[in-house]
Amino acid sequence: MIGFESVEDVQQKLESVDYIPSREIATVVYLAAATQKPILVEGPAGSGKTELARAIARSLDLRKIRLQCYEGLDEAKALYEWEYAKQLLYTQMIKEKINDLISASSSISEAVDKIAEQENAFFSERFLLARPLLQAITSDEPVVLLIDEIDKSDPEFEAFLLELLGDFQVSIPELGIWKANHIPIVLLTSNNYRDMSDALKRRCIHLYIDYPEKELEKRIVKLKIPGIEARLADQLVETINKIRDLDLKKRPCISETIDWAKALMVLQINDLSPEVLSDTINVICKYQVDTKMVRESMDKVLE
């Protein structure tokens, strides 16, 4: 079996690739890997949903295959497609060969039979364009499959995914059923744009990544930005947490905390002051109204 040995093992391995998981994340990842179930990850934007998939792939030294969902995504883009142009080109090029083959036949039906014998040459893997899902299933070694922003896809696509996630096999009419060589570790992320169907939810285990606890966030900042002073990191996290308490349109997430810390490092600032916050606020707040609100409650945020 691929993967992890215990919850502690998950924690260690993820930390070794610079991702500090909470206990809950570690437990769910371990269970998913052990029972070969997909994980449905929810959480505010920037809380590290996609990063989790990347970290799992890196910690187990696996390839990561990513499928970005959007409205109108269909099987041809997600699973496979026949390369008609290539088939056509090949047919043109070997036209004479085909003529040779059927020249000896006496009737049309005999000629058709002869060509039919060669059908495999045209409907073979050579002409099959594998898209992310097929790549994940046919890969020779286990992979991590990340299906990003599943909530953006259409309900039809969601239904199609069910078959894949349930049995880990796909049927290609011309070639038959392909079973997965290795069951991939699957992560689906959702931003809650719409609710997922019950059937999909039932096949997955659910994980909600919330804003990290203060202590955890401090550790993450120190890990991601090794040069940062401990005092500044503490100050930074405290401030971010206070900003999160404000009634903002988009609350800053862990990724914003890290961006901000990086910005301060570049500017060589070692102490937070109202001026510093005011100058660098665009890193934390992505909306004009939010910026305004933080500026107005500056003294509350920086205590």
Binding site: S6, V7, R23, E24, T27, V28, Y30, L31, A34, T35, K37, L40, E42, P44, E71, G72, Y84, A85, L88, D154, P155, N191, N192, Y193, R194, D195, M196, S197, D198, K201, R202, C204, I205, H206, L207, Y208, K249, Y287, Q288, V289
Partner: protein, 460 residues
């Protein structure tokens, strides 16, 4: 262990968490893999399997705390079960003394460590439907049954205190004392459950406060303050706008034909011309046209905003695959026909003159939701966007928010447009904060700019 989990599952189910058998099997299998003595792991395992979305997590957390924290002390208090039996006897005695209505029985069951009947009772309270419209409507019946449960809890508390006192006078302090206070604690838990907030987390909620100030002056005037002349001006502006948006849409339809070459289709048409590809076919992406169901409050001030919205939606009808609309004061009336047969402005007049909407009635959102849920639920599908226009002022009637929750699970998105300024939401009889928990998106919509911003979002 298995029994414990199964009990927990049935407790979850009574409080409306949908836990399937497959999920129970999964969780039990997974519990074998983790260290169950570590609460984080134990809890995460159950939570990952039983609560499959952020919305359900609060329900789960509440049940978990109740089941594994508030109700658990039984096992710790008496390892040899003697206390438990004593307690059960005492409770049994008290139970016989009290009247045997369901609520008291449920409370005693709760005290004895079986929360399920009591949970059912609470669940019944929350989903209690208002009886068919009477002359005088209110949500009193829900409040009064809640009150009834509280009275029963008080009765039981008195009885327990008496029990505590009895024992003291008989000179049996110590263990009975502890037992009584333990039961009192538990009664507090029951009381707390009755009064707590049961609204789900709604992190995905999109709350729009900002908008482009495209039109100054007229664009910023609240719909409710428009004069006759301004309404005429407004119509011209809307007409222009609709034309502009239609242009953009048709350009979009045109450009989609310039997609990649569709070899399959080109070959198929080439068959007709001896295999020579005369007609080139492109891959056409069918644009997703959404279905729309609108519910418009037509009472008083709200109507002024609702009609402009209807005006725009119907002018752009070809951008959607299906538009159904309902107007309501207390019950929903289907006005789709009127809008399909008549020109928009005429239709708006007709809604007021030709329908049987009772404009004198009190607005009753609960009643509207109940009727819509009963008669028109089949209109909602995963492709439908449900738009509700209203101030959510229920005149203190029962808001019936569970119905909205159910409707949410049937459709793609629920958007609530509120013509009141945001600072008034949730004040007085406004149930906006209640309904908000069940919407995907809420936005104030009181002037043209906000409306335009919304329509653009909806169409593009």
């Amino acid at each position: 262990m298995l029994n414990l989990i199964l009990n927990f599952v049935s407790a979850c189910r009574t409080s409306d968490l949908r836990v399937s058998t497959a999920e129970v099997i999964d969780s039990v299998r997974q519990l074998e893999l983790v260290n169950v003595l570590d609460e984080d792991q134990f809890r995460s395992t159950l939570r990952a399997n039983f609560a499959k979305s952020r919305r359900e997590q609060r329900d789960f957390d509440r049940m978990y705390d109740l089941f594994f924290h508030d109700m658990r002390p039984d096992a710790e208090l008496d390892p040899d079960n003697t206390r438990k039996n004593e307690m059960r006897e005492a409770l049994e005695q008290m139970r016989q003394e009290t009247s045997d209505d369901e609520i008291s029985q449920a409370i005693f069951d709760f005290l004895a460590g079986d929360p399920i009947p009591y949970l059912k009772e609470i669940q019944r309270l929350e989903t209690q439907a208002e009886e068919a419209s009477k002359a005088l409507k209110s949500n009193l019946s829900q409040l009064s049954s809640r009150l009834e449960v509280m009275l029963r809890i008080n009765q039981t508390r008195n009885r327990l205190l008496q029990f505590q006192g009895d024992n003291q006078s008989e000179g049996l302090p110590g263990k009975n004392q502890g037992m009584a206070s333990h039961m009192l604690e538990r009664l507090e838990v029951a009381n707390r459950m009755l009064t707590q907030d049961t609204r789900p987390h709604n992190d995905g909620l999109k709350q729009i406060n900002t908008y482009d100030k495209q039109y100054s002056g007229l664009g910023e005037r609240p719909f409710s303050n428009l004069t006759e002349i301004e309404i005429e001006q407004m119509r011209t502006v809307i007409d222009q706008l609709v034309r502009k948006m239609k242009d953009i849409m048709s350009r979009r339809y045109a450009s989609r034909n310039k997609g990649k070459l569709d070899v399959k289709k080109t070959l198929r048409t080439a068959q007709r011309y001896l295999g020579i590809p005369i007609e080139i076919r492109y891959r056409q992406k069918p644009l997703r046209k959404s279905k729309i169901v609108t519910l418009c409050d037509v009472s008083g001030s709200v109507w002024s905003a609702a009609r402009f919205m209807l005006n725009m939606i119907y002018s752009m009808q070809d951008c959607f695959s299906d538009v159904k609309s309902f107007a309501f004061v207390s019950g929903p009336t289907n006005i789709t026909d009127i809008f399909e047969k008549h020109e928009v402005n005429k239709a708006i007049e007709k809604v007021i003159t030709d329908t049987d909407i009772n404009f004198d009635a009190h607005t009753d959102y609960g009643e509207m939701l109940t009727q819509f849920h009963r008669d028109h639920l089949n209109l909602l599908s995963k492709k439908t966007t449900l738009i509700i226009v209203g101030d959510a002022r229920t005149n203190y009637h029962n808001p019936c928010e569970q119905l909205l929750d159910e409707m949410r699970s049937k459709c793609r998105r629920v958007i609530w447009l509120n013509p009141e300024p945001e600072q008034f939401w949730g004040t007085g009889d406004s149930e906006m904060s209640t309904y908000k928990a069940y919407c995907h998106e809420v936005r104030p919509c009181r002037n043209l700019n906000q409306l335009i911003y919304f329509i653009e979002d909806l169409v593009f």
